[in-house]
Amino acid sequence: MKILYFSWVRSKIGLAEETVTAPNRVNNVASFLAWMETRGPNYADALANPAIVRIAVNQDYASANHPINNDDEVALFPPVTGG
C-alpha cells in the first residue's frame, strides 16, 4: 500500500510517503494503526496521541473499522487547518 504523511506527522515520521506491504493481520484502520506504531520510535511518536491524528483511506476520512488492504492509498495527518 501507499502511505502518505502530512504536516507534523510527516516531520515526526521523517517521510512524505512510502510504499509498503502490510502484514496479513492488517485488515482495517484499527489494525493498521496498531501495526504502524510497532514500526519504530518515529512512528510510535507520531501516532502517540490518536485524538490528533486523522486517517484517510483512498482520499476519504475513515473510521476504526473501515477495511484496509494492500491496494489502498492511506494517509495520516493532523486535524486540518485550511481556510
Binding site: S7, Y61, A75, F77, V80, T81, G82, G83
Partner: protein, 158 residues
C-alpha cells in the same frame, strides 16, 4: 459549480462576474467569503505562512462539500478557490462564493461551504513568526461550526 486548488492569487470581482455571467437566470444575491493571512496572531507578528495540502484528496473533499451544498440549497451556483504554498500577511487564502435568487440561501450556503471546508479539506498551515515556526493547531470553534450543519434540517440558521 467549480473548484480550483492553486498557488496563484485570485480576483474576486472576476470570479463573481464569471459565476453569474450568461445565466439568463434569476440570480439576485451573491455572498462571498474571503480568508486572508493575518498579520498578528495573538501577540505575535506573522512573517509568512506555508500552506501544505493533500493533492487529490483536497479536490475530492471540496467536491463533496460543494455537492452537499447543491443538494441542500438548489438551485445555486458555487465556486471554491483555495491556495497552497507560501503566503504573506494580507494575502488571500481562500474564496467561497454562492449565487442564488435570494440572499438567505446565499448566506447560508456560503457559510456552509467555508465551515465544512475548514474541517474537511486537507490543508495545513505552518506559521513563520518572529517567535519561530510552528504548525497551526485546529480550532474547537471550527469543529463546532462544521458540526452544527449535520443536525440542521432547515436552511434557516435561527
Amino acid at each position: 459549480m467549480a473548484i480550483y486548488v492553486q498557488s496563484e492569487d485570485f480576483d474576486l470581482s472576476a470570479e463573481l462576474k464569471q459565476l453569474t455571467a450568461n445565466t439568463a437566470s434569476t440570480i439576485g444575491a451573491v455572498v462571498s467569503f474571503v480568508g486572508l493571512v493575518r498579520d498578528i496572531i495573538g501577540e505575535t507578528s506573522l512573517t509568512a505562512l506555508e500552506l501544505e495540502h493533500y493533492p487529490g484528496m483536497t479536490e475530492r473533499q471540496l467536491a463533496a462539500i460543494e455537492a452537499e451544498a447543491h443538494q441542500r440549497w438548489s438551485p445555486i451556483k458555487t465556486l471554491i478557490i483555495h491556495r497552497y504554498g507560501r503566503l504573506h500577511p494580507g494575502d488571500q487564502i481562500v474564496l467561497t462564493i454562492v449565487a442564488s435568487t435570494h440572499r438567505a440561501t446565499a448566506f447560508d450556503a456560503c457559510r456552509f461551504l467555508i465551515d465544512r471546508l475548514k474541517t474537511d479539506a486537507p490543508f495545513w498551515k505552518q506559521e513563520e513568526t518572529t517567535q519561530g515556526t510552528h504548525w497551526v493547531a485546529s480550532r474547537e470553534e471550527d469543529n463546532q461550526a462544521s458540526a452544527r450543519w449535520k443536525n440542521k434540517t432547515s436552511t434557516n440558521l435561527e
